[in-house]
């Protein structure tokens, strides 16, 4: 269990995390989602005491991280793959971390095997690819067999096989009753891994709900209309207040009008319809809709059509 109450972090004039409160519960994977710069990494650093909150507090299993008797055995953390001295081998890096908590060499070998690093364990980390660095970071997080796992963008730089591996590993660990807190800026990845999602935008919690609820937030936003008479019907729909895109010659994507309204208009105008279907919003749409106003830097100005 991770619990934040009124957590705030300011760097000078910039507020990175703005009075957020949330709980991350055991036995499930909680996704921490938000655009880059939303404050996800800062929040994770605050949880493990690397940054000091400006105000508010955050606890793990009921205590501040710094007060844990055996932090690595309670919380495993992957902050970023670069928290490693590049001149040291992966094995020595893990041995040095393990030594602080009296973790045995056998466990070091175990996490090396678990993360598939056997062949590179005795190589210096400076030559590692991003993906190998991520695996080493995950190995370090698993060293103490912790009940809470905090992973900041764990699939960043992993190949598709690695992405699936992380997904299965985190689901498995959550199934054992552990608390898994996983950040990503990729909605699709979250949709497949998380049970519960906390969406962060510009340092604030925008949504905190089960995956299904987040998905539901975006349903019914558009209607697909397929008709051989698309030119004429498009004009009708526009007059009625709809906003249209025309992705295929006989397909219209309509927003601003509900499906029943469109059906009635078609009957009035005697237009033949081949399809009339509300488009189920994807998690990606929900995410875009939720974070649209919160993204700090828009690319090019218009985010969505």
């Amino acid at each position: 269990m991770i619990e934040a109450v009124g957590l705030t972090k300011r760097y000078g004039a910039k507020t990175a995390v703005d009075d957020i409160s949330f709980q991350v519960k055991p036995g499930m994977v909680t996704g921490f989602l938000g655009p880059n710069g939303a404050g996800k990494s800062t929040t994770m650093r605050l949880i493990v005491g690397l940054d000091r909150p400006t105000s508010g507090s955050v606890t793990v299993n009921g205590s501040r991280y710094a007060e844990l008797k055996a932090p690595l055995r309670e919380v495993g953390v992957l902050l970023d793959a670069k928290a490693v001295h590049t001149g040291r081998t992966a094995e020595n890096h893990l041995l040095a971390l393990a030594a602080t908590h009296g973790i045995r060499r056998r466990r070091v070998d175990e996490v090396i095997a678990l993360t598939g690093l056997e062949s590179v364990a005795r190589r210096r980390v400076g030559g590692f690819s991003l993906g190998m660095g991520q695996r080493l970071g995950i190995a370090a997080a698993l060293l103490g067999d912790p009940s809470i796992l905090i992973l900041d963008e764990p699939v960043n730089g992993l190949d598709p096989e690695g992405v699936i591996w992380v997904r299965e590993l985190t689901r498995h660990l959550a199934g054992e009753g552990r608390t898994i807190f996983l950040s990503s800026h990729l909605m699709t990845e979250m949709a497949q891994t998380a049970d519960h999602i906390i969406v962060l935008g510009r340092g604030r919690v925008i949504a905190d709900a089960p995956v299904a609820t987040i998905e539901a937030m975006a349903t019914g936003t558009a209607v697909h209309v397929r008709t051989p008479d698309s030119e004429r019907f498009a004009a009708v729909l526009t007059r009625a207040g709809g906003t249209l895109t025309h992705p295929e010659p006989d397909l219209l994507e309509v927003t601003g009008l509900a499906a029943p309204q469109i059906g009635e208009l078609a009957a009035q105008e005697r237009v033949v319809l081949h399809e009339l279907s509300p488009v189920g919003g994807s998690l990606e749409d929900a995410y875009l809709a939720l974070t649209q106003d919160e993204v700090e830097y828009h690319a090019g100005g218009t985010a969505a059509a």
């Binding site: 269990m1 690397l50 932090p71 928290a83 001295h85 040291r88």
Partner: protein, 300 residues
């Protein structure tokens, strides 16, 4: 609150301990190439410079009186410790790197995630580095004293291995090297960057004494030399001198820029070796305390 938070996963095994932190820092220190290189260079410099001096000094010309026992021992100590000045530069670089390397690579975040109270990790690091450096430097200086000894009887010097004061001076040299490394570690902790840490530490050891020396000769006053006596290099130079018989030594005294001809000897402060040791420890403590306060306060 829901149950099953930590299902016994975190209670069965030992937790964080200072002994574990010491072991961790020892693994870190010995698993970097920079450590091995610095220690190797340090020892080779000591032996090489010692042999060079032992081989090139000339015996007193016939007719002049032979050196006294203390004069001979003092010269031997000079030879054995000729590399100390250079060794301190190497240990300063290594001392700064030991901590700034962690900041530069991001390793410090892993270190502080494992040891969230932070100061025990820093203390363990300082202890492991200080003791290791002392041992390496002491061994290097003893080897230098031993391998240079056979060259000396030809020069009118008969090394007296039973003279405890020789080994105290050798230990003092090793102590100076280790303490200067620790001072650089403290500076590195404050500045957090390898380039700035090494520059600041070497500046304090190399550049400041020269500036004071210039000031001393320009102003013809005693104060620049007196300040220099309290610098790490000035105090350190007192730690590995053979007591007494300094005037008879065959090589000139080093460090601190003392010895302005203009200032009268009465105005010049000369530290005893125990005072010099306290001064040097004072530098180290001040740097580490400031660094420790900053480490505790700053975000990592």
């Amino acid at each position: 609150m829901s149950t099953g938070t930590s299902t016994g996963m975190s209670t069965r095994a030992p937790g964080l301990s200072f002994g574990g932190e010491l072991r961790s820092e020892w693994i870190k220190l010995r698993s970097l190439r920079s450590t091995l290189w610095c220690y190797l260079i340090m020892v080779l410099l000591m032996i090489g410079l010692g042999l060079l001096l032992a081989g090139t000094i000339s015996a007193p010309a016939s007719g002049t009186p032979a050196l006294s026992h203390d004069g001979q021992q003092s010269t031997w100590v000079r030879i054995a410790t000729l590399g100390v000045g250079f060794a301190t530069l190497v240990s300063a670089v290594l001392g700064a790197l030991v901590i700034t390397g962690e900041y530069g690579t991001g390793m410090i975040r892993s270190t502080f995630a494992a040891v969230p109270k932070r100061l025990p990790a820093i203390l363990a690091k300082a202890l492991v580095f200080g003791v290791t450096t002392f041992v390496v430097a002491f061994v290097g200086l003893v080897i230098t004293a031993l391998v240079s000894a056979p060259l000396l009887p030809d020069k009118g010097i008969t090394p007296d291995f039973g003279d405890g004061k020789v080994w105290v001076a050798v230990a003092g040299g090793a102590g100076y090297i280790a303490l200067l490394g620790l001072l650089a570690l403290g500076i590195g902790l404050i500045v957090r960057s390898s380039a700035a840490g090494i520059a600041a530490a070497l500046g304090l050891v190399l550049v400041v004494p020269i500036i004071l020396q210039i000031l001393a000769s320009v102003t013809r006053a005693a104060w620049p030399s007196n300040i220099a006596a309290f610098l790490p290099s000035g105090a350190g130079s007192k730690l590995y001198a053979y007591p007494g018989a300094a005037a008879e030594s065959l090589t000139p005294g080093r460090g601190g820029g003392a010895g302005s001809a203009a200032a009268s000897a009465a105005d010049l402060i000369t530290l005893d070796s125990w005072q010099a040791l306290l001064v040097l420890i004072g530098w180290v403590v001040v740097a580490l305390v400031i660094g420790g306060i900053l480490v505790k306060r700053r975000d990592a």
